[in-house]
Symmetry: D2
Subunit: 344 residues, 4 copies
């Protein structure tokens, strides 16, 4: 049994506790908080009543030393850098659910997050945590940069197609997300009445997940790609759908594209490539760690349309974080994560 | 490992399959259907992709003989009676999620369900399946009448207070339910646009769960009770909240009432009596098998208000059915059911 | 054409502007704000794009003098008292949408609002603004206390039955409200993810609308009544349903009760008494100024159940405010308000 | 006052009645039905209680002769053709809300609707009813093909840019629609529980509005265009957002594009071109006849992103139908339609 710290007290922290209920080898022994010190997590998140007796502790990193084998960091950007540095020195492995170690290029980080990166050296250790793509690297590191929810939904279906050179590089990603993706913070855009019964694009052209997607797709393509990414806010709690538009290279068919994805992911426990004619619904992965992918092509025109869904709190955050932690600690990758979605 | 049949293919059948994913000793080996023969359950309910490979079979009860140890029946009323009769003769234990064995008085059954009861003798075998109240009887029978979702939410908080003689008998139960409670059938009242952004009472004074509640509360009180029950349809998928109004007997305080419930349920794994000042939200039990109960009294006037929530598909149907099946088969009562709610 | 000031910039202010679009004799010429000074209302509320060019002005009451004939106050409690005092001195008629002039008994005001009432004398001028009950008094005053949304939904159906002595005095009001009722302020309880897919009672036994309801029902009954009122928060934008439980006096039938309401409201433009067997849905009055009332009684037991719906922003706030303003200014009571609900 | 027939009884028929409440010169005198003969419209759609006393009549077209000046047809495809033929012979002008007269090419009609077109000659009379584009032609005809909801949302923003030659022809339209767009019919995909808390693409590559969009955009461009159109179903009642991706021609800037749209639509009463930096929310046009359009371009890469919203039942159906009817009858185009959206 490994002892874990959770640093942070938001929705992804609560989701880690939910998922760890199913895990036989990982146990959260500490939750570090700023706002809720002294409160029980099951008071803040009463769905945990009967499932967790953890009490939020002050954010003193020293308390983790000796008490924990590894840590999840679920913090706003900028806060993880010094903590990770310290924890790694104590040989405490880290999965960072925030953005601090996702971008290799500190200039882009600084442009999008308006913050100088304090430890560029650490970036070299960090592995971008999509196990389906970087499993072996993750096993060999002690710092995982857990990906953003939008990027996970876009990179998983696109990376193999780009690696195999099946599609052109003018790619459009139209993503739709539930509101938990924006966290628990109070802002006008998460007020019930401002969200309910509506849909709207936001952050057009400037969303922080844009460069993260571009970085990974460029790596897969072996050249710098220009990607269009537009997120939308949707009146649901959980779920991201990315509808992806690309052009097939001459001679490539829908079948070639589907086969490429099936070859890559057929043995993966958390990816379903849907049968011909099916497009996914975010409901199918509500609460699960799955990614469901539908493939459609109009072969006359060469247009390819992919539909990719995941739950932004599980495969898009805490589920993938546990998947990464399992790899970091040498456990079965699926431990604690074989849970079906809740539908309806 | 016990082998189980699921007779029916609706939401509660799918929910049984979801929950059995977590169960180490029960395995569904058959799903009997009328509408979906030959289809895989994970095609009809794609949240099960990767979690079930069952194919809907024709509803031939003979096929169960020898193949299954026990059966869940998830059928419209009237259909279970002959099937249960047959299965019991083959020593196949049954949990019936429908209404056929809930009402002891066949006259009331016939009035409310417009159907003559074909096997009144079987009613004597049937135990009303709220384990928190009838655990020992359930262990000794081979036929459980799994309760309705509304009744479970009302009976659990009220029965101990009536048994202990703490409240008067003029009880009002104002219940609010998500739409899964009405099943998967297509009707105007479950069309998205007719439900979304609205709330309405329905079945005022004539809902079939009224006599079921009255039967059980009368049993607890030791005398015939007159109960007012009003259900409402709510634009959510899962969840029932019953707000219950009663009068404390002279001298009874909020503390007495809460203590009575704590004494009864303190050791129960699936009931939370909330702390003073808390009222529950259906969100806290979304997908779990829990019942959360809040208690408030205005001691000057003697008014008692209880808030009771559950998920109508789990503790209100399939979760409680598995809890009952565990008892029927001599397994740990909580097996497969220690799963927290999904929030948010 | 009368010139009006709107003091406040929240949802009810925006709703006043929406409704005034339909009004030929009232024109909003000023919006006074604290947070949005200098901003156009159609920037804050883009549904008004093309319908209003008003710019939020600083909250200087002096600016209203000479510029406006009357004013709507849409402010948090406590703020209206000094402003109303000043405006009345300038002969500017006022409809106050807040709570400052609703309760006759300043002790109760002070207990529930934790604030001393600065101008108890003004309370004598204020008329409680339900035109269906107090039409003549409203016409003769210059200060209307616009009622709370919950109280309007409960008082309209109950007052005639109490006045006519048809029901006993142990009354239970179980109310369900959309989230706009809580305003635009950011708080955890109005975060999308905390509301969506759930329902919960709140303010059990202590909600500020309790004494307001008790005051008006007691007036109708001619004696002090003890009323149980429980509000619930619901994942919809607009709408209140109050499900009301009472006991018929001996010999009173459902027909007597319905006839009493039909006699009282048959000629009212904004009240529908539904036909036997119908219960209302909040969707039917979405955006309209209507109250729809369903009546059911179980004559054996004498139980009476009423269902009463309105839109909390229109008949529950801004629509009724305009109805009151029409009366204050001697206009046709229905001017600007004959608009049907939006469904679906 | 013109007397109108409404042929059909679905959501768009009910919406016509709602909107006609605001119209001083048009009056619905007949509703022809198949399913609800003899029922009052305000029984089927209780939001109309107090606003309409129309009773559904049998679908005998002869009854319209002499009784009505013009007709709205709100019928499934295929049904309008013979009725329109008859009505035009009697000089009764028609606005057809269905699909029968939208496609000029009967081969495409037959391919997409699986039905031979019985009156190709009539197609020549029909004008595609987007007044902002075809105002003068509409005034001169007596048959308007009221456009589909998705096409309206896509054609209004794109047509001027194509006419002016500002964009390349590889256009992607990612549309998201509320459920009323699918009508009142009962099907699994409109069951509340199957829609709520989810989003999914549907009809990928084969939706019937695809060729309608292609026809109109090709006309604007002056050459045959290949357009990618993907609709999505969204858990809201009303509203369509089309997020549109195109490439600016070399040298074209965001400002050029916005100016082109402002020049075209600046004086239009039902189109708002949003200020730089704003993208629209479907909530802003909930219940109104407006189209709100946001414009964003990344000038380095030449990518253009448009966001276009409307209410599928008003500007996407019944509101635009009344706008067209106003033109057919020589009335003020905006009569009955200057109503703001309902928000929140």
């Amino acid at each position: 049994m490994y002892k874990l710290a959770i640093i942070g007290d938001g929705y992804t922290a609560a989701e880690l506790l939910r998922l760890l209920t199913y895990h036989k080898q990982l146990r959260a022994v500490k939750v570090l908080s700023v706002d809720f010190i002294g409160k029980r997590m099951d008071q803040i998140y009463p769905q945990l009543l009967g499932f967790s007796d953890l009490i939020c502790e002050p954010s003193r990193i020293d308390d983790i030393k000796g008490a924990c084998d590894a840590a999840f960091l679920a913090l706003p950007h900028g806060f993880s850098v010094p903590i990770v540095k310290q924890l790694l020195e104590w040989n405490i492995k880290c999965v960072d659910l925030g953005a601090d170690f996702r971008l290799e290029d500190t200039k882009i980080y600084e442009e999008y997050y308006q913050l100088e990166h304090e430890e560029p050296e650490l970036l070299k250790k960090a592995v971008y945590g999509i196990p389906e793509l970087y499993r072996e690297q993750i096993k060999r590191t002690d710092l995982v940069a857990n990906p953003g929810c939008y990027p996970t939904s876009a990179i998983i279906p696109l990376a193999p197609l780009l690696e195999s050179g099946l599609i052109e590089d003018n790619i459009i990603i139209d993503s739709k997300s539930g509101v938990t993706g924006a966290g628990r913070e109070l802002r006008p855009s998460s007020h019930f009445c401002e969200v309910n019964e509506g849909i709207s694009p936001y952050g057009t052209g400037v969303h922080r997940h844009g460069p993260e997607i571009a970085q990974e797709l460029s790596r897969a393509a072996g050249k710098k790609l220009d990607v269009t990414f537009t997120p939308h806010l949707l009146p649901i709690n959980r779920g991201i759908l990315s509808t992806i538009y690309a052009r097939l290279k001459p001679g490539v068919t829908e079948k070639t594209a589907r086969t490429c994805l099936e070859d890559k992911y057929g043995a993966e426990p958390f990816v379903n490539i849907l049968a011909k004619g099916m497009m996914p619904n975010t409901k199918w992965v509500y609460g699960s760690n799955m990614v469901d992918i539908g493939v459609y092509a109009d072969e006359d025109s060469g247009r390819l349309i992919l539909g990719s869904v995941l739950d932004n709190l599980t495969k898009g955050a805490s589920g993938q974080a546990i998947q990464n932690m399992n790899l970091l600690l040498g456990l079965e990758e699926t431990a604690g994560l074989k849970i079906p979605g809740l539908h309806p």
